[in-house]
């Protein structure tokens, strides 16, 4: 009945398969470029991927529950827009302005949660709608022009403790918190259970709707944190803030081994390794002065492989149903009723 040996072997192979890819990417770029494998470049990569990591954590929670939130780029954009406008036009202190951003992020997440849970709309469609609409609102508010941050805030972008940028630390804190939330709290276990099967979870007595709602709120909140981080990194708000981030986050989550079917995978190290994969490719190709479009091709290929592995792991692609052993003995008698009558 139990097939522990082959299962654990398979799992091992799959887990290490991902690490092998990561090591291979690392090795290729180390050999192909002069500065890839340096401490400075490593810090630069962590710095660059920090906002993505934070936003991916929110995405991960939603995906673990078997849902999807593709509005996070727009949530990041709109919620940071509030902060910029408050600081620039109304002289609101940065701390208050960013608190508003976080509140806005959570509120917009709640809006998503309401549409998905309250109105029962498919998460992909619901957040596609808010992705478009929220970006529209933000563009309206900013007139789609570039608005620089006040000097005092812009300098935060270079803030570092020793060689480590502050946003790397922020990302680390967020990742650890999200991972603990997922792994060690009742809420996290319940999300996992919902991702395993919503109907089953409901039958066991888990308040599915409420938990999914909270997951969306958190996703919005994390999106706004990521938004603030990108905003400070760039030093200004532009129509591009957060654009495409939702898909990067989905890719990070999936490559990090979290199943889009829900209930499988971990934030640590999954999300970090996923983000690192993409950052290494971007950074390495950049240093090789490769054609900038090559990045998209490679990224696409990696997402594709990750999705395929996910589907296999989740048993969606099963080995074809055992074909009937067709024995061609048409003449043989079927008079086996007598022999089947007596049972042990």
């Amino acid at each position: 009945m139990r097939d522990n040996q082959s299962t654990s072997f398979g799992q091992l192979a799959r887990r290490h398969g991902f690490l092998i890819v990561l090591v291979a990417i690392f090795a290729v770029f180390t050999l192909a470029t002069d500065h890839f494998a340096t401490f400075g470049n490593f810090i630069a990569m962590l710095h660059a991927m920090a906002p993505v990591v934070v936003m991916s954590c929110g995405m991960a929670l939603v995906v673990l529950a078997g849902k999807l939130d593709i509005s996070i780029g727009s949530v990041a954009f709109l919620s940071s827009t509030f902060a910029v406008l408050l600081m620039n036009n109304h002289g609101v202190p940065p701390v208050v302005a960013f608190a508003v951003t976080l509140a806005a992020g959570a509120a917009l997440g709640a809006l998503n949660g309401f549409i998905v849970v309250g109105l029962g709309i498919n998460p992909l469609i619901a957040t596609l709608g808010t992705m478009i609409a929220l970006r529209g609102v933000a563009l309206q508010l900013t007139n789609a022009v570039l608005i620089p941050l006040p000097e005092s805030v812009r300098s935060l972008g270079n803030l570092s403790i020793g060689p480590i940028f502050v946003d790397i630390l922020v990302a680390a804190v967020v990742v650890i918190a999200a991972d603990q939330l997922h792994r060690r709290t009742v809420f996290g276990r319940q999300l996992n259970a919902i991702g395993n099967g919503e109907e089953v979870a409901a039958k066991i007595g888990i308040p599915v709707g409420r938990r999914v709602f909270v997951a969306f709120v958190l996703s919005g909140l994390f999106a706004s944190i990521g938004g603030i981080m990108s905003l400070i990194q760039v030093g200004s708000i532009s129509a591009y803030l957060g654009r495409g981030m939702e898909f990067t986050a989905v890719a990070v989550v999936v490559v990090g081994g979290i199943s889009l079917f829900g209930g499988r995978g971990t934030i640590l190290p999954g999300v970090v390794l996923g983000a690192l994969t993409f950052e290494m490719i971007a950074n390495g190709l950049n240093q090789m002065s490769a054609n900038p479009y090559a990045y998209r091709l490679v990224t696409g290929a990696i997402i594709f492989v990750a999705m395929y592995v996910d589907a296999m792991k989740s048993g969606r692609i099963r080995s074809r149903r055992k074909k009937l052993a067709v024995r061609d003995e048409p003449g043989r008698s079927t008079g086996t009723i007598a022999e089947t009558t007596s049972r042990p």
Binding site: T7, R189, T340, R343
Partner: protein
């Protein structure tokens, strides 16, 4: 704890859904340390009664007494608080999570806001030990076999320390060995003073594990008492009640001609065990067995809906029997079940489109596009032939009555003129008139030369049609009876050899 004082009494419970009566005086008395078999044919009201006990449904009338005091059970949580717990037939598993998480998911122990893995593991390890399970609380459920998963479900039910534990068909997916283990566990629970309700369709199991039995029929308790007072045959008779013998729709006849279909020792782990039979042209063969005996599984396996581990199926083609894969056989068979929607009726679409679905080649116009006029005429022809009651052929199927929907399913298959029909409870949920018409239609199919394999829980239905019966028990065909067999013989067959009496 006294063995005689009832732990739980359900007294004269009634339940109405609108005008439909689901329970009309059901009673059940449980004593501590006993296993109590709850028996009844399909639709007898067992599930409704258990849902009332589980707080999922509210009774319309009657009383629930726990230890002599009248109580209300307003919700599943309430039921658990009263010490009532369920092991459901379908396993509610979270495959990617650990055994411990699965067992305690609705009440994870925490410490300082975090789930305490240590306490979780300890509690679950203790429960698993009580159950005699060898796997660890840290095992992932997806690495466990069916029997172990069933044990996880039992462990979850035990986590709340119930006084009353209800098993709803727990053995339907278990192997013989796993079943033994479950029975041992039930024995241990009884010894610890737990009252066990055991719902099953397998007669032999109740004689093995239970002390008392309650039989329900048509929403009522028809008999209850110590099992020692019953023979298996008595229980079947109580379950099925008086069968009103209706006239046969056609006289039984002996198989004639070369077999159209030969099923040769097909098996599937845990479901079918060496099933063999032949089907001759123009005959109606009844698969006669209780629910869960494997009659549905035989039909599903033949058309490839469930896989096969072993065996062969041969279909007559070009004058000789040739091996055929179940998936391919599906295309040759008119397959009608109680689940009209599951069988692919597209409820929002017009009747005509639904009928033409398996028959597109007959409704195409010159450009290979569907010719609406032709489609309509095609549909109308069948509607008339089957006397489908409708206003217009363009009417959505959804708006038809159940019987007429079922006729649309037949119409679709008739268009392809199959030589074989597999009918699984084709009249379930239909009113008497519609039932009769479906049965007549079945007789007409056989008259037209088609071979019919019919599975039904209703004896009178079977007896009005079948030319012979294959007796199905536990995924095996354990005997065969001629179409002339009387009601006594058929009932006897259900409790006959192999039921452990």
């Amino acid at each position: 704890m006294s063995m005689d004082k009832p732990v739980l009494e359900l007294v004269d419970i009634h339940k109405r859904f609108g005008s439909a009566v689901a329970l009309a005086g059901a009673s059940l008395t449980l004593r501590a340390g006993e296993a109590h078999a709850l028996m009844g044919a399909n639709g007898a009201g067992k599930s409704t009664l258990m849902n009332i006990l589980g707080g999922i449904l509210q009774r319309s009338e009657g009383q629930i007494r726990l230890g002599g005091t009248a109580i209300e059970i307003a919700s599943p949580r309430d039921a658990r608080r009263h010490g009532i717990s369920f092991v459901h037939q379908e396993l509610n598993m979270l495959p990617s999570m650990t055994v411990a998480e699965n067992v305690l998911i609705d009440e994870l122990p925490t410490q300082g806001g975090f789930v305490s893995r240590k306490r979780m593991r300890e509690r679950v390890a203790a429960i698993l030990e009580r159950l005699g399970c060898r796997f660890s609380p840290d095992d992932t459920v997806e690495t466990l076999g069916m029997g172990d998963r069933q044990m996880v479900e039992v462990a979850r039910a035990l986590a709340s320390d119930p006084r009353i534990l209800i098993f709803d068909e727990p053995t339907s997916s278990l192997s013989e060995r796993e079943k033994r283990r479950l029975f041992e566990v039930i024995g241990r629970l009884k010894a610890a003073g737990t009252a066990v309700v055991y719902i099953t369709h397998f007669l032999d199991e109740i004689f093995e594990t239970c002390e008392r039995v309650t039989v329900m029929r048509n929403g009522q308790t028809v008999t209850s008492g110590p099992l020692a007072d019953y023979r298996p045959h008595d229980i079947v008779t109580h379950m099925l009640g008086d069968v009103k013998l209706e006239e046969r729709l056609r006289p039984p006849r002996a198989p004639e001609g070369e077999p159209v279909l030969e099923v040769d020792r097909i098996s599937r782990q845990g479901a079918l065990d060496g099933v063999s039979f032949r089907l001759h042209p123009g005959e109606i063969v009844g698969l006669w067995g209780l629910l869960g005996s494997g009659r549905t599984e035989i039909l599903r396996a033949l058309v490839g809906l469930d896989g096969l581990d072993e065996g062969a199926i041969r279909l007559r083609k070009d004058g000789r029997l040739q091996p055929v894969a179940p998936g391919d056989l599906h295309a040759e068979v008119g397959f009608v079940t109680e689940d009209r929607r599951g069988e692919g009726l597209l409820l929002p679409l017009p009747v005509a489109s639904n009928i033409s679905f398996a028959n597109f080649d007959k409704v195409l116009g010159p450009l290979g596009l569907i010719d609406r006029k032709r489609e309509r005429r095609f549909g109308e022809a069948f509607a008339e032939r089957l006397k489908i009651k409708l206003h217009a052929i363009s009417q959505p199927v959804r708006t038809l009555s159940g019987g007429n929907q079922q006729k649309v399913v037949f119409a679709r298959w008739l268009g392809t003129a199959p030589r074989l029909f597999f009918l699984d409870e084709p009249t379930r949920g239909l009113d008497v008139g519609a039932k009769g018409e479906i049965l007549k239609l079945t007789a007409a199919l056989a008259e037209g030369g088609a071979s019919v394999l019919l599975a039904s829980s209703e004896l009178e239905e079977m007896m009005s049609l079948c030319d012979r019966y294959l007796i199905v028990q536990r995924g095996r065909i354990v005997g065969e009876l001629p179409g002339t067999a009387d009601k006594e013989t058929l009932m006897q067959a259900l409790s006959g050899p192999g039921t452990g009496a």
